[in-house]
């Protein structure tokens, strides 16, 4: 009996919350339950889902990355303002990914080599990038995105929107990467016990640095998808996204150093967000209510894991 309870407590809250939300929506708003509408809901959170892939990696090595908002602003501004002139689109996208990686490398240097608190470092990076972009743009939103990006964003593969396909594919790649490569073992070891890993010959600093670079890369991809979705340049894009990413990751059973939820737990954490925001909007909950929900999700999920750790 205690075994059953114990294994029940190891199920990431995301799965349970997802089922509850789905059932609530099914009962109260059955008209929303068709492939087209659901596809649009899920498409909306695809950028968040991609950002979460990086977040779960850094959180498994006991770090955190709140600089996604900065990468988003920078990439969005760069593409929308035509800063790069007449470069072909693939090259522009490549530069965007490069920006993500560079920001990640800087975060990783600060966190792994300089031992700066990850929250402070990545928040400061966001503040710096945000201030810089707004200064360059002098507070005015830049022009539009290339139309081709929005067209690709709206395409479908069968009934499934293309961004969702990309999200699922990247999640699968991440799952294989973490389970089949040595790096995945390093990540697990550093998360369990950094000191023991260091003395067992695991390159702790390099593992954490690498995690931040990969998180930066995913932030770059998320920025491209999100920019394609809004189709215009904006200076207030995705300011809440890193926080939502943290909430979805914790909800999905990955919390500092512990990776119970794997890669698919956080995936369903993001799906919860898709349903949650839809149901909150359809029940007429105002924007501040969403702020409170964000905070409560992080707090309750963290308490759930805090109590679990204390018992063992």
């Amino acid at each position: 009996m205690t075994n059953v309870l114990r294994s029940a407590a190891r199920i990431p809250p995301a799965y349970i919350v997802f089922v509850i939300l789905l059932a609530t929506l099914w009962l109260t708003k059955p008209q929303l339950m068709n492939a087209n509408v659901m596809g649009i809901f899920v498409r909306q959170v695809a950028p968040l889902g991609i950002l979460v892939l990086g977040q779960l990696l850094v959180m498994r090595v006991r770090s955190i990355d709140l600089s996604g908002a900065g990468v988003l602003l920078l990439v969005n501004y760069m593409i929308a303002s035509g800063l790069l002139g007449d470069l072909p689109l693939p090259l522009i996208l490549l530069v965007s990914l490069g920006i993500g990686c560079l920001v990640g490398l800087f975060n990783g240097y600060l966190v792994a080599k300089r031992r700066v608190s990850a929250v402070i470092a990545t928040l400061a990076v966001t503040v710096i990038i945000g201030g810089f972009v707004q200064f360059v743009a002098s507070g005015k939103p830049p022009g539009n995105m290339p139309e081709l990006m929005n067209d690709i964003y709206k395409m479908k593969w069968g009934p499934v929107p293309l961004p969702v396909v990309l999200w699922v594919a990247l999640t699968a790649v991440m799952a294989v990467f973490l389970s089949r490569f040595v790096y995945g073992q390093f990540v697990m070891a550093v998360g369990e016990n950094p000191t023991a890993s260091h003395f067992s010959g695991v390159p702790v600093e390099r593992t954490v640095l690498m995690a931040h670079v990969i998180a930066g890369l995913f932030a770059g991809i998320a920025a491209i998808v999100q920019s394609a979705a809004v189709a215009v340049g904006s200076l207030r894009l995705g300011l809440e996204m890193p926080i939502d990413a943290v909430a979805a990751t914790i909800l999905g059973g990955v919390i500092f150093g512990r990776g119970d939820g794997g890669v698919w737990g956080p995936f369903f954490g993001v799906m919860c967000f898709a349903l949650l925001f839809v149901s909150m909007t359809s029940f007429g909950v105002p924007e501040p209510g969403k702020q409170i929900a964000r905070g409560l999700i992080i707090l309750l999920a963290a308490i759930f894991y805090g109590l679990n750790t204390r018992k063992t």
Partner: protein, 320 residues
Amino acid sequence: MHRRKINRFFGKNSRQGNWWAALLIIIATILLLLVKSDDFATPQNASNLLAQAMPLIIVAIGQMIVIILAGMDLSVGSVMSLTTAILALDGSPYALIPLVFLAAICVGLVNGVAIVKLNVHPIIATLSTQFIVLGIAQLLRPVAGGSVPDFVVTIVTGSVLGVPAPVFWGIVIVGLGWKIVHGSRFGLHLFAIGGGNASGQLDTAHNFGLKDERNIVLAYVISAGFAALAGLFIAGRIASGDPSVGSQFALDSITAVAIGGTQLSGGVGGLHGTIIGAILMSLLANGMNLANLSAFLQGAIKGVILLLVVGLQSRKKMGL
């Protein structure tokens, strides 16, 4: 003996941390501003500077108390916003002001209990309450507006015998902070708990019989209380409620505390360093304003300062 005194003054092995560097930068900044700007040495600017610095000094003192415990309070900015939102409600100031502090105590209790009893990391606990409290503030007052009771405006912007009210605020706040951090048993326990934490032995203080859990909860309550006090001050200045007024203060207060020599890993810090740090940050903001620097660029520069200060502190632990 002599060498030890010098070492202690310059922050080596000192419990107060390295605060003299910030003091030197303050002196340099004042000299620079005196030479470069004609508007700096005016009575108008001096009283502006004092009124601008006061909220940051108040929040930073509370922030320092939790940082000495190797914690961090990211919810202070939201508590300030909530305070202005509550004060802008209809009602008697004698009901609203106690309500403000009651709300702050609740936030502090939630933070503290989540950290010590429910085993949540301080940064995660205060990050989540930051959003919850901000949401409540936005529910009470979706956009800036409303009006604050005259009583609050008077105690912040008034003057007694020609001396502006912020001066009295400063004396009371610094006295209160000194009593808490350097003049009480609680203050002594702060350094003991934080120092044990910094050396990697979480239970050192506990093993010596200190009530560490109770002290940690109390520290978060005090931090929220100071944030409410700062919110009260700002509400008096702007005479209305504003749910976004505190958004900068979480990072700004951490910068001020860190620049004043308090170590984010805990156990090392002091009140004078924090006050020097908060004054330095306000002076820099004032100087950048006088130089007509874009507000966006000012934000970016503050971020760079935070990274520099925190990047230069040494820490054993990696990650959060």
